[in-house]
Symmetry: C2
Subunit: 155 residues, 2 copies
DNA sequence: TATTGTTATACTCTATAACTATA
DNA sequence: TATAGTTATAGAGTATAACAATA
């Protein structure tokens, strides 16, 4: 029994990996400090929250604590993030972005967005509007999937 | 100078990694033989072309030959693909999907599409139409990026 | 000499299991 | 005992560089 959301699902599975591969290549390849996508997202999150913990990063990215730990390790090792102790609870980390981190993040975002823009320039106005609407809707749908405690819905 | 494609580009960079993370988790996590996304795409391509070479896989996925080689290695090791020599040109491989490979591929696709459908079920009809249109447009735009010889446009 | 694929090596990303330190 | 984070280990996925075999 085909549902109205089946065709969109098929299309998503077809298109998203291709777009992702492009984003990844841009992120890694584009000059200077090649940031991976998860590194980039971690920087964005740490900057936005200012002083988040390791657990915060893990939750936000949907990672296990060891994965988040290694990810942050890499960023600290490259001087893009500082890892400090919290005063009240000495188990807890206080992660902050450094000026170089902020610079690297902005550079990576700019480069990647410019590359995406270049490609999207081939689309007509109606297609561009569809892309914006679709991305907004997908962000909502998949954001709600991670926040409410679950991790993978009804496991 | 902001162009009409800049906002869509920003949204793509925001939404696509989140969706991709979900797809990846479904692919890997869902029962039996957990296929990774690139493994899945490789199976799809090998089945579709029937007897493609390593270079064909590398081009299609946008990978370097060593990466494609390792990817195929894994699939051969798990009995999902056979690697034979070509009769005319003995440097060239002839890759074929096995029955188990076809089964694994179909299972992974079904599971993942069902999971995606479940999430997309939360969207209204207008949003679903936008998703379908957007994915079709993105597929075209990013497919043309890889085929015409380049790999990364004006490098 | 050019093309096809492979091996060696290395790095990122991710997970599970076992551990430490603090609460 | 429970929580925050780390270390150890392992495997997928990717790249570059150096190589082998074939054309």
């Amino acid at each position: 029994m085909a549902k109205r959301e089946d065709e969109p699902a098929r299309e998503v599975l077809d298109a998203v990996p291709a777009v992702m591969r492009f984003i990844r290549a841009q992120m890694r390849g584009h000059r200077a400090l090649g940031l991976g996508v998860p590194q980039f997202r971690t920087l964005v999150y740490i900057e936005r929250t200012g002083g988040t913990s390791l657990g915060g990063v893990a939750d936000h990215l949907g990672l296990t604590p060891p994965s988040a730990c290694k990810l942050v390790d890499g960023l600290v090792g490259r001087g893009l993030v500082t890892r400090g102790e919290s005063a009240e609870d000495r188990r807890r980390l206080t992660l902050e972005i450094t000026p170089e981190g902020a610079r690297a993040m902005a550079a990576a975002r700019g480069e990647t967005q410019r590359s995406l823009s270049r490609i999207l320039g081939a689309l007509d106005d109606e297609e561009l509007r569809s892309v914006t609407r679709a991305m907004t809707a997908l962000k909502c749908a998949f954001a709600e999937e991670r926040s409410p405690a679950n991790g993978n819905h009804r496991a």
